[in-house]
């Protein structure tokens, strides 16, 4: 009846546009515009903004200017002063010889599978709008997140788990659930946030476990429910809305078990757990792999609550510590996906919402505890890396200026990144639209170009 009767296949119509409507199986798997290279995504979000000149974009020229004003300076959030060379050493790695900072020795060992993007840029030097740009393609307005778009466009391979899962230990990042919101898309496409500091599955998904009733007790209740519903159905005709609601209880019952299972890391063999190492980052990277393996479409992994990588001061100490936490687990995730043959069709994305200045941040009241050893936000240029799922491995794309302040060669805006990733997932970003409020909305708004140079 009514809206509910819309057939699943009709979600994508002949023009390749997806349609707004209500549906009974919002997560049923669907095909994109063309054959995709990547089937799933894991986005490792270094929230706060890692510094490019300390990670993947070495700038020896900064040493020449150490303690001196650079010849030019871009507008950032706060005031910055002289050039501030990286306290870290860089070395070339792998066949590709891509230089990586000493703080990422394990990721460096996987560099031949990685494509480093050195010419990323975004619009605004504040966390909130830049997080929104990276996740939702718009700095302020309430737009669906990348994960919501993907889950909407492709559905999910596992109906017993949410299609879009967000892992973050110890709380939520700045902007919280806005980062994974579905906005005007149905609520089913919103990311499900999981605090990976919690170990109990009932803290992971709302109402996933009954606090008192056993599965047997629930089974008996469901048997009775089925009998009562049968009577209801007999006196009525076929009604897909009624039908799918009745089915959803069986689905929910199975989901309880599957969800407990997927978060139970003790099911992993010892050598796999050893590969990821100890600690929260290890646990969440391994959880991410298990979710991807189970068919979850999009997993976003945040480094931590708030904005851990936002090092306005003591960048040497802090960047070293943060990298130390996630380096081995991320490298393990890459290796693990590869050894399972999953890296070929899994897109791995690493990066923050923006980068940091090559100049030192000046001490200011209420800003950076008055020290001269940190860097301010920098939207003009920053580094990210991508791997797997149709990405050209072992390459560097684009470049910043001599000092790493702004993207200079082959500039790649966040919209371009989105367009390129959508392309790998089988979507023409200009045709992947959703009609809302009289407009056909896109993740890339009216921008974005597919960067062919990074495609394998």
């Amino acid at each position: 009846m009514g809206f509910g009767a819309l057939a699943l296949g009709a979600l994508l119509d002949s023009r390749g546009e997806l349609h707004a409507a209500s549906f009974n199986s919002p997560l049923a798997p669907r095909k994109p515009h063309f054959a995709p290279k990547a089937k799933r995504v894991v986005h490792l979000f270094m929230n706060g903004g890692p510094s490019q000149v300390d990670t993947f974009d070495p700038k020896p020229a900064l040493a020449k200017y150490a303690g001196k004003e650079l010849p030019f300076k871009f507008q950032t959030e706060r005031r910055t002063g002289a050039a501030y060379p990286s306290p870290f050493k860089f070395a070339q790695h792998g066949q590709s010889g891509i230089p990586v900072s000493e703080i990422f020795p394990e990721i460096a060992s996987q560099i031949d599978d990685i494509c480093v993007l050195r010419s990323m840029h975004t619009d605004i030097p504040n966390h909130e709008p830049s997080l929104m740009m990276m996740n939702c393609g718009d700095v302020r307005q309430a737009r669906p997140s990348f994960g919501s778009w993907i889950t909407y466009g492709l559905g999910s391979e596992n109906q017993n788990l949410p299609g879009f899962v967000v892992l973050c230990p110890g709380g939520v990042p700045v902007q919280g659930s806005h980062n994974w919101r579905s906005a005007f898309l149905p609520g089913a496409y919103q990311g499900t946030h999981i605090d990976t500091k919690e170990e109990q599955v009932d803290k992971l998904i709302a109402h996933i476990r009954n606090p008192v009733a056993s599965l047997d007790e629930q089974r008996r209740q469901l048997e009775l429910l089925a009998q009562l519903n049968r009577r209801y159905r007999e006196s009525r005709e076929e009604d897909s809305l009624v039908e799918s609601r009745i089915q959803s209880f069986e689905l929910a019952y199975r989901m309880q078990m599957e969800a407990s299972d997927v978060f139970d890391l003790s099911q992993e063999p010892e050598h796999i757990r050893a590969m990821y190492g100890e600690g929260l980052q290890a646990r969440q990277m391994l959880t991410a792999r298990r979710l991807l393996e189970k068919g979850v479409r999009f997993v976003q992994v945040w480094h931590g609550a708030g904005q851990p990588w936002d090092n306005h001061n003591r960048i040497e100490l802090n960047h070293r510590k943060l990298a130390g936490e996630c380096d081995k687990p991320i490298a393990a995730l890459l290796k693990d996906l590869k050894q399972r043959g999953m890296l070929d069709d899994t897109l791995v994305i690493w990066g923050g919402e923006f980068g940091r200045t090559p100049t030192v941040e000046l001490p200011e009241d209420g800003a950076n505890s008055g020290t001269l050893d940190g860097r301010d936000h920098n939207p003009h240029g920053f580094s990210m890396w991508v791997a797997g799922g149709g990405i050209k491995p072992g390459t560097v794309y684009g470049a910043t200026d001599e000092f790493g302040f702004a993207a200079a060669e082959n500039k790649m805006h966040v919209h371009d990144l989105h367009a390129t990733l959508l392309h790998l997932l089988g979507f023409d970003h200009e045709r992947f639209t959703y009609r809302y409020a009289g407009r056909d909305f896109r993740l890339t708004d009216v921008e974005g170009r597919v960067v062919k140079d990074i495609l394998a």
């Binding site: 549906f23 709302a206 809305l241 989901m255």
Partner: protein, 1043 residues
């Protein structure tokens, strides 16, 4: 003779230059530009017409295309050069260099152009004006029909059905009918007694009387008010956690307006402009919440205005005006200028700092006094900071170094357009506002041959800088602009002083920095434009926010209700188109006025003030073709599950056309003619046969109309989240029917048994179950609710504490299986069903509480006078991760007392001290230890707290006053089983910043009780067999669907 000769010469010259135009310019315009910028263009781009002289000179939305004589400032030339990223014309490859050179020459010689003809006035094409939704709705005679007719609606529907080979269904049975009607009009199921009475009522008007009874019940307004709140994107916060103080007064106003059947035109007018109207009741000011209660985020003022325009235009007119924010609407006749006309109306309206009262405060209300004092302090803090930083910043802009930097940059930007100067500021770190001021100042001084800046402009033009002012002798030494800038900076800074100099030469220099309107003399009112990057902006935001936070704090403590009102700004600023939506790139003027497509050709600007009242009148008008249509269609959709127009907020060219145009017109026209009464409209609909017919499927009809577009049966529908929750509370007899007031928290355990419409809605952080059940997302106006089916909905019904709690209450109130059927499904069970139920209940084991050891901690509040602790009350509500006395804090009288695992916060006075109480499980000596810590936030406001350890409600074991410090509180004491030790915290003089951490431990010989380890929420209890059965009934399809 002479005049004639001159004329001839002029003609001759004109002819020569006209010839240049004809040979070099016109052909290029015609072949490369006219396709988008002339009368021949299918749609003129950017409002620019290049096929007439006036079109070229007036230009489009970005301003004049050509400044005769000045190629550098002519947008047309700039576009041809492809130097501006956002302005490259023609698209693709630039024209050949020699062609561009021709154009430059043409502009330099004054852009001679012999073409005549006026730039056409933009007009809405007649074909578009004739579009159905822009035409006034007309009355239509109901067509003939031989089907069952109850109201004028039926003949229209049946005529269409006949056309399609369909026929209506018979009337539904009376039980189904009453259930349908009662849910539809009130959001609740029928009372058992009412439904028995209705089934027994053989009078022919029994149904009519039921309709009247339900329309008159206060629950009607709660249900239909909630529908309207979807349209109004209502929430209780601007964005996550940022509370509106009095959002509830708008929600309650809406509910009352529906209950009182306020005429819809008045309902609309008040929501847009109550502050500009003569009101009988000041409570009507609350109506303005329609505009003010939308989403807003820091620095997002343009998006906030956009959201308000969207709520007004999609919500009331069914037009997607915000599509025209960056360019003309792609499909509808809404030029971007019309968007900025709306923008001007909203931008010239502002929320008052003090919200107006909608009721009289009680005389001598101490809370009013507290509120007033708090406001004064906070407003003063904003001012104080602004003045301090303004002084510092302006001093910086008057320093030698900064003057040099800015004049040098301003010089290079002298011919920049808006976008170029924005780029410069961004990429070379200049404050855009100040840079523009210097740029404009330098341009003025050049034209005015200003003596101080004459040497500057001389060097810029390649001449030697010769100063007229003897104090500026140093400038003649400068060999480059950089050097000159530095010298200017030094000279000007050296002569800067607050008081005038006696020496006129020195005074001339002083005035460059201190004169009226000069770049560095920045008024305090423009402080926000010149604030330093980062820190300052955040501090001002925080200080301003503190004012709003204080208002909300007081409001939730029970401050006399006020309206989330709107005022016109004191001065009205003219509005301009923002080219491509960029506020740093203002284009042509956009006077405040109504939409072109809904106005006569001689459209007038709105009257005085912001124009909101004129806007309101234009929308709530009998001659507006959209307002009534959009509303009757919404009401229709809320009754039937789908509108006659299935895109209820888009009546534009790409919206869906009405399935029954005549019926829609007739409804709209009658609605207006009969006084805009929504209750009348309900009667026309719910009394119709179409509404009363069965929802039963008929295969032969379905084959012809799968979607039931033509209403050959009634649509079956699923209860929405509010209905689901309210019905569960209703079934146990615990539903609290109190109307209006402050919201409750939907997250709390136990559940607050109020209707869901009163739940606290935190925008961007809705409770998960609301999202799971497709509640309207208040991020923006919501035209329809989605209807998805996901397993999380079933999980909620299987596992949530709320559903278990309700099942338990229902079972406790019910006398047995049969009574459960009446309470939950509103009917008696069949014999078979009753037997099934009894068998299930009989087979289930009685509930056994799992053996979990009790812990000795309790959480609550008490009064403490330093000697005796009295009136200990355990906290009743678990709001995830904390225990508190009410579901939502603060509360009247007490403030915000609560306890978490690690600490908490006391209430407003010693009468509401919080205490973590330990009850001795056995006799013996115990040692008590733990660190109390109190921290002031960034703003060092507040006088701190006092922490106590109290034995047996009176014996003080330890005590400490803390303000921004920590202390170890330790004691050793001998206790007897059942005696209490209270870890109590009270506020001191004020209740500001009183949060603390304190995780005490009590250690006996062999046991240690650490407070945080035992901290937990309510313990779930297993359900007894009858409650398990009740839970299954709550999960049935029969419960969830309305036939």
């Amino acid at each position: 003779m002479r005049p004639l000769l001159l004329l001839v010469c002029a003609l001759g010259a004109a002819n020569a230059s006209d010839e240049f135009f004809e040979s070099k310019i016109r052909p290029v315009l015609a072949t490369r530009c006219y396709v988008c910028h002339s009368a021949k263009a299918p749609k003129v781009q950017g409002g620019l017409w290049l096929d007439t002289k006036s079109g070229v000179l007036e230009g489009g939305i970005s301003g004049p295309a050509v400044v005769p004589g000045d190629p550098e400032r002519s947008l047309l030339i700039k576009a041809l050069h492809h130097s501006d990223e956002a302005l490259k014309m023609p698209p693709g490859k630039p024209l050949a260099a020699e062609v561009i050179a021709d154009f430059e020459h043409w502009v330099r010689i004054g852009a001679p152009d012999p073409r005549t003809g006026e730039k056409p006035k933009p007009a809405i094409p007649e074909k578009v004006r004739q579009f159905w939704s822009f035409q006034p709705p007309r009355r239509h005679e109901p067509p003939n029909t031989d089907g069952p007719v109850s109201t004028f609606i039926d003949p229209f529907l049946q005529a269409k059905m006949r056309e399609k080979g369909l026929s209506p269904s018979p009337e539904a049975d009376r039980a189904s009918l009453l259930r349908r009607l009662t849910y539809d009009l009130t959001g609740l199921p029928p009372e058992w007694d009412d439904s028995q009475a209705f089934l027994a009522d053989a009078a022919p008007d029994a149904y009519e009387r039921a309709v009247e009874r339900l329309l008159a019940s206060p629950q009607y307004g709660e249900r239909w008010g909630r529908h309207w709140l979807d349209v109004a994107r209502y929430a209780d916060t601007r964005d996550r956690g940022a509370r509106f103080a009095f959002s509830y007064t708008y929600r309650d106003w809406v509910i009352r307006a529906f209950n009182e059947d306020m005429p819809y035109n008045e309902f609309v007018r008040k929501q847009l402009a109550a502050d500009r109207m003569q009101l009988d009741d000041p409570a009507d000011l609350a109506a303005l919440g329609f505009i003010t209660l939308g989403r807003s985020v820091p620095k997002g003022e343009h998006d906030m205005i956009d959201d308000r325009i969207d709520a007004v235009t999609r919500g009331l007119l069914g037009l997607t005006v915000t599509c025209a924010r960056c360019h003309d609407h792609k499909y509808d006749p809404i030029p971007t200028q019309d968007y900025y006309s709306f923008y001007g109306v909203i931008a010239n309206s502002e929320e008052p700092v003090e919200y107006p009262l909608v009721a009289k405060p009680a005389p001598g209300d101490p809370l009013e006094e507290t509120y007033r004092r708090g406001m004064e302090a906070r407003l003063a803090a904003v001012e104080e900071f602004k003045v301090k930083r303004h002084t510092e910043l302006v001093a910086e802009y008057r320093s030698a170094e900064w003057i040099a930097r800015y004049i040098l940059a301003a010089q290079s930007a002298s011919k920049f357009n808006n976008r170029e100067i924005e780029k410069l500021s961004r990429e070379r770190d200049y404050n855009l506002f100040v840079l523009r001021r210097w740029r404009d100042y330098l341009n003025q001084t050049r034209e005015a041959a200003d003596p101080v800046f004459a040497p500057w402009h001389a060097l810029a033009a390649g001449r030697k800088p010769e100063p007229a002012n003897p104090l500026m002798a140093a400038v003649s030494r400068a060999g480059s602009m950089e050097e000159l800038a530095r010298i200017y900076g030094e000279i000007l800074a050296r002569h800067d002083a607050e008081a005038p100099h006696a020496d006129p030469n020195a005074e001339a220099l002083r005035l460059v920095l201190r004169g009226e309107g000069v770049p560095a003399n920045i008024p305090l009112s423009d402080f926000l434009q010149i604030r330093g990057p980062g820190g300052d902006a955040n501090i001002v935001r925080a200080l301003r926010n503190a004012v709003r936070v204080w208002q909300a704090e007081c409001a939730y403590r029970g401050l006399t209700p006020r309206a989330m009102a709107l005022d016109d700004t004191k001065e009205q600023k003219p509005s301009h188109v923002f080219v491509r939506g960029n506020p740093n790139d203002p284009g042509v003027a956009a006077p405040r006025r109504f939409l072109a497509v809904l106005s006569p050709d001689d459209r007038q600007p709105f009257g005085p003030g912001s124009g909101r009242l004129d806007l309101a009148n234009a929308i709530a008008s009998d001659t507006n073709p959209l307002t009534a249509r959009v509303l009757v269609n919404r009401v229709w959709a809320w009754h039937f599950g789908r509108g006659l127009v299935t895109s209820p907020s888009d009546f534009g060219l790409r919206g869906d056309p009405p399935s029954h145009p005549e019926l829609l017109d007739e409804l709209a026209r009658r609605f207006m003619d009969e006084g805009w009464s929504i209750k009348k409209l309900h009667r026309w609909i719910v009394l119709s046969h179409a509404y009363r017919q069965q929802s039963v499927d008929r295969a032969e009809m379905r084959a012809k109309d799968l979607e039931n577009l033509f209403l050959w049966r009634m649509n079956r529908r699923r209860l929405d989240y509010e209905e689901l929750r309210d019905t569960m509370l209703h079934a146990s007899g615990r539903l609290d029917r109190a109307i209006g007031g402050l919201p409750f928290s939907p997250n709390a355990e136990p559940a607050v048994p109020r209707r869901t419409v009163y739940a606290y809605l935190d925008r961007g952080r809705l409770p998960g179950e609301l999202t799971t059940f497709d509640f309207a997302n208040p991020e923006a106006h919501s035209p329809v609710r989605y209807q998805t089916t996901v397993p999380q909905q079933a999980l909620y019904l299987m596992n949530s504490p709320f559903v278990a709690e309700q099942a338990r209450h229902i079972a406790e109130a019910a006398s047995g299986v049969a009574d459960l059927y009446r309470r939950i499904l509103g009917r008696d069970p069949s014999q078979e069903e009753a037997a099934l139920g009894r068998a299930f209940v009989g087979a289930e084991q009685p509930a056994v509480r799992p053996a979990v050891p009790a812990h000795p901690w309790q959480y609550g509040m008490a009064a403490w006078d330093g000697h005796a602790l009295t009136g200990f009350r355990p906290f009743r509500f678990w709001e995830p991760e904390r225990w508190q006395p009410a579901s939502l804090l603060p509360q009247p009288e007490m403030g915000s007392p609560f306890l978490t695992a690690q600490g908490g916060s006391p209430g407003d006075s010693a009468r509401h001290a919080v205490t973590r109480r330990w009850v001795a499980p056995a006799d013996g000596e115990v040692r008590i230890e733990g660190k109390v810590e109190h921290k002031l936030g960034d703003r060092a406001i507040g006088d701190g707290i006092r922490a106590w350890i109290i034995h047996r409600g009176g014996a003080v074991l330890a005590e400490r006053t803390l303000r921004n410090e920590s202390a170890d509180l330790v004691a050793t004491v001998t206790v007897r089983a059942g005696e209490t030790i209270d870890f109590l915290v009270e506020p001191r003089g004020d209740a500001e910043n009183d949060s603390f951490t304190w995780d005490p431990a009590v250690t006996a010989a062999d046991v240690r009780w650490q407070a945080s380890q035992a901290f937990e929420g309510p313990r779930p209890e297993p359900l007894p067999p009858l409650a398990k059965y009740a839970q299954v009934l709550l999960q049935t399809a029969e419960f969830a669907f309305v036939d």
